[in-house]
């Protein structure tokens, strides 16, 4: 356990610089986005009021009031979220492959640590999970910050103030990152974590059997997806409307647990018996 925690700490520190850059990009872009979008609204409003000499009511009728929702629709807001997601997706592969390739042969060291090799797998998965939660937390903190920027820049008569909950529910993509119930939160992030474990197992197949391993990895991935969606397939095509929603949810949880267990067991076997440097 002690060595597992040390490994998590070590893995996290290896990515820290890029991680801090991602956080920096998110903070800077979203604050800048709030300023630019608010400024753009003010310019448009000034144009209607002072160039086209409209009344305030007519200008508001034409342009509408601005809310934080409008800021979330800009590339300044969604761009850094997309960058973070893409970076973490790439890092899911990089976290393993960098230990084999390049100038270092760090995988020798990782595989020769006096601890169960599966701890390396768990440490890398935990690192990814911590990074995801960290970025999600930063994003959550950025919502009131962006909203405050909007409030500073736009007079109260020209804006609609939204609560954080309203901001989250007004935009579908944010609903994925910040589900409205704990139940949905567990589903979203458990599926994400299961995907990470399945991808890790596929990578270990490739690292154990090289070219053949790519095929094994793809088969394993397809098998995992099939197991996971099996209850839904049964409900849709074999026994239509047979399960109550709560039963279907329970079956999905069991299928998810099977996928996760299978990934861990297979990875443990590959790391112990098949992996090569």
């Amino acid at each position: 356990m002690n060595r597992y925690i040390k490994l998590v700490n070590f893995e996290f520190n290896r990515f820290l610089k890029i991680y801090l850059v991602l956080i920096g990009i998110t903070i800077a872009s979203q604050i800048l986005g709030a300023i630019i979008r608010s400024n753009q609204y003010l310019n448009d409003m000034n144009d209607l009021l002072y160039e086209q000499l409209m009344t305030r009511e007519a200008a508001l009728e034409q342009l509408g009031k601005i809310s934080f929702y409008h800021i979330t629709q800009t590339v300044w807001f969604m761009g850094p979220i997309a960058i973070c997601i893409v970076t973490l997706l790439i890092y899911m592969f990089f976290i393993w492959y960098r230990d084999w390739f390049g100038k270092n042969t760090f995988i020798y060291r990782l595989l020769m640590l006096p601890t169960a090799r599966i701890n390396v797998y768990f440490a890398k998965a935990t690192t990814i999970l911590l990074m995801v939660f960290g970025l999600v937390a930063i994003q959550l903190l950025m919502l009131p910050v962006g909203r405050r920027v909007l409030q500073w820049m736009i007079p109260v008569d020209f804006r609609v103030d939204q609560t954080i909950r309203e901001i989250l529910t007004s935009f579908d993509y944010l609903m994925i990152l910040f589900p409205s119930t704990f139940y949905e939160f567990v589903i979203h992030y458990a599926i994400g974590f299961a995907v990470v474990l399945v991808v890790f197992t596929a990578i270990l197949f490739e690292r154990s059997f090289r070219w053949k391993g790519i095929v094994f990895g793809l088969i394993f991935g397809a098998f995992a997806v099939t197991i996971f969606i099996f209850p839904v397939i049964v409900q849709a095509f074999i026994l239509p409307e047979f399960f109550y929603p709560i039963e279907l949810f329970a079956l999905e949880c069991i299928a998810g647990l099977v996928v996760v267990s299978l990934s861990i067991w297979t990875s443990n076997y590959l790391l112990k018996k098949k992996i090569r440097v």
Binding site: G102, K103, N104, R109, M112, P114, A116, K273
Partner: protein
């Protein structure tokens, strides 16, 4: 004792090891010799479970390798096993964090023996100094067995001499060493046992002392006889 028993290993269609057997005792230096591609590195990797074998058995003091074995045996490959961005001191700290058998005092001793600056980054080291850091990380562990793969590969003569000195020092004393090298001249007088490999087989296994005393031959003489016949 490390026992390698009838080990076979295949990479795709090529059978690299075709039933290799030998033993390496504690307190002895055993040298694996053979031309490129005979499977020396594969044997080393297999002993520390970095390459799975197809059949056969490898025992370390009568047991198959398990996670605790890495406190008993260490492998020094021909490439550095630490991250290039690390400083030497970071690498030493890493070893201290993860290995109970890490001996900080000995590490400091080796550091000054090799005249290495522990603040230097691994990426900035010369090839010779990289090899020395690799040796430092292996030798500073209080283990019973040390495996070294081509420790003299591609480094200058002065670094080679310095590394060869290690073999006569107390750093190696009482430990079992398995070494692969092409630079046999550097350590010929230090090795106790030789395993000559060819095309996946052990051609000959002999004690250097017996060969010297009984037949008046050097290791290189025996190599010539065996490989050129």
């Amino acid at each position: 004792m490390i026992e390698v028993k009838d080990v076979k290993k295949r990479f795709g269609r090529k059978e690299v090891l075709k039933g290799v057997s030998f033993t390496a005792e504690k307190g002895e230096i055993t040298c694996l010799i053979g031309i490129n591609g005979v499977g020396k590195t594969t044997i080393m990797n297999a002993i520390v479970a970095l390459t799975p074998i197809n059949s056969g058995q490898i025992l370390i003091d009568g047991e198959e390798l398990h996670k605790g074995s890495y406190e008993k045996i260490t492998f020094i490959p021909d490439a550095i096993t630490m991250l290039p961005q690390m400083r030497i001191i970071d690498a030493m700290q890493f070893m201290d964090d993860f290995y109970d058998c890490w001996n900080e005092k000995r590490a400091e001793e080796i550091l000054s023996f090799f005249k290495l600056d522990k603040q230097e980054r691994i990426a900035n080291l010369s090839k010779g100094n990289t090899a020395k850091v690799n040796l430092l990380l292996g030798l500073a562990m209080d283990v019973d067995y040390i495996l070294m793969d081509e420790p003299f590969s591609g480094i200058d003569i002065f670094s080679r001499e310095q590394i060869a000195e290690v073999f006569t020092s107390h750093l190696i004393e009482d430990r079992g060493v398995i070494i692969t090298t092409h630079e046999i001249n550097d350590i010929e007088h230090l090795i106790d046992k030789v395993v000559l490999l060819n095309e996946g087989y052990v051609l000959k296994e002999f004690s250097t002392e017996e060969i010297r005393e009984n037949e008046g031959k050097s290791v290189i003489d025996v190599m010539r006889e065996v490989y050129q016949s």
